[in-house]
């Protein structure tokens, strides 16, 4: 357990930047989650064609 070392200077200097990136990414995740909840609750079409037969959307798509 003697591996503990003082925080390297660069970690201190980059802390605010890393924190900013972390908050931005967390915000993006929250927005994607929020959009998903809204669209699923409203019953938006969640399926799209992806090179396989999708009988569930073929009838409405054609």
């Amino acid at each position: 357990m003697s591996d503990l070392r003082a925080t390297h200077d660069i970690h201190t200097r980059r802390f605010s930047r890393n924190l900013g990136v972390a908050l931005a990414l967390t915000g993006l995740v929250a927005i994607i989650l929020g959009l998903t909840v809204v669209k699923v609750k409203r019953g938006d079409g969640m399926e799209r064609f992806d090179h396989v037969v999708r009988p569930s959307i073929e009838s409405s798509g054609s």
Partner: protein
């Protein structure tokens, strides 16, 4: 991270704020405002989460094009006093980083706007980024004194994108909101160019003041202001307009025309004598002009909601 890799550092560690500055937050705030108006006055309402996401990704797209602009224009930004402290010319952010952030955020914003709203809005946002970063920044800005006129289209798209995000289409009202910003841009920037004289001269950017002289610029400001006048009045008479927009348009256009006439009426000696007082006043008024017109559209939308 190994000890070897963390020792490879630069003299200045960019902060998160430096990267935010790449996105031109002041321009973004105008984009957020006009896009929000376009979205709110549309006859179709979005879920608040979708509306928030739409505005955020439109703003992010605008920021991305700002980063691409800073990457490409670092050489002329370094020469101009107004822009020399930007992150790339001041050396706080590497040009490659600005390019990567610009390209990355462009893709992210367009894809996410498409997923959050619809493909028309996403397509318009992609075109806006392309127009600002490629057509304006890489092509027009250094080539023609009409750079401001045509490049102004990039700044005019946000309300149209906001409208498209809500409705999935583009209508006369959206086109008039576009036209309002498009026609407003030349007098706004040419007034700035008149009193930020040495900046554009030093950078060799072919602004009208540099290529055709200041007398011609004054004439152009008046001409474009006259052409701008009918646009907000027409907008006030459409389905998104109303009494507030009409009164605002009549009053502000009166002041704006008077300001443009005063600028046209002056010569350089008069302007230098009072340190471009009229030109500075016109520039400040132009900021209120846009803000109040779009604010009036919101006010009319609220009045319609109450009726």
């Amino acid at each position: 991270m190994s000890e070897a890799s963390i020792n490879v550092t630069r003299d200045y560690e960019p902060t998160f704020g430096d990267y935010v500055a790449l996105l031109k937050p002041r321009v973004m705030s105008l984009v957020v405002f006009t896009a929000l108006v376009g979205l709110l006055v549309a006859p179709v309402s979005l879920h608040p989460v979708e509306a928030f996401a739409a505005i955020l990704f439109i703003a992010l797209g605008a920021g991305a094009s700002g980063a691409l602009n800073m990457w490409y224009d670092a050489d002329i930004d370094a020469v101009m006093r107004r822009t020399a402290k930007r992150p790339v010319p001041s050396g706080r952010v590497e040009p490659g980083e600005a390019l990567a952030i610009g390209v990355g955020l462009s893709g992210l914003s367009v894809v996410m706007l498409g997923l959050a709203t619809n493909l028309v809005a996403a397509g318009l946002l992609a075109f806006t980024i392309f127009f600002y970063a490629v057509v304006y920044t890489m092509w027009l800005k250094r080539w023609t004194p009409q750079n401001i006129v045509i490049g102004g289209a990039a700044g005019a798209f946000p309300p149209m994108v906001g409208w498209a995000a809500a409705t999935g289409s583009v209508s006369l009202e959206a086109c008039l909101m576009f036209a309002l910003i498009f026609m407003w841009t030349p007098p706004h920037f040419w007034a700035l160019a008149l009193f930020m004289k040495s900046d554009y001269d030093d950078a060799g950017v072919p602004m009208l003041t540099v290529t055709h002289g200041r007398k011609t610029t004054r004439r152009h400001i008046l001409a474009y202001t006259v052409l701008l006048t009918p646009v907000p009045i027409w907008l006030a008479l459409t389905s998104v307009g109303g009494p507030v927009t009409l009164v605002t348009a009549l009053i502000l256009n009166g002041f704006f025309l008077k300001g443009a006439y005063d600028i046209w009426h002056r010569d350089e000696n008069m302007a230098e004598a009072d340190d471009y007082r009229t030109e500075r006043k016109f520039f400040r008024l132009s900021l209120y002009y846009l803000f109040l017109h779009f604010g009036a559209l919101i006010a009319d939308a609220i009045l319609r909601g109450l009726a």
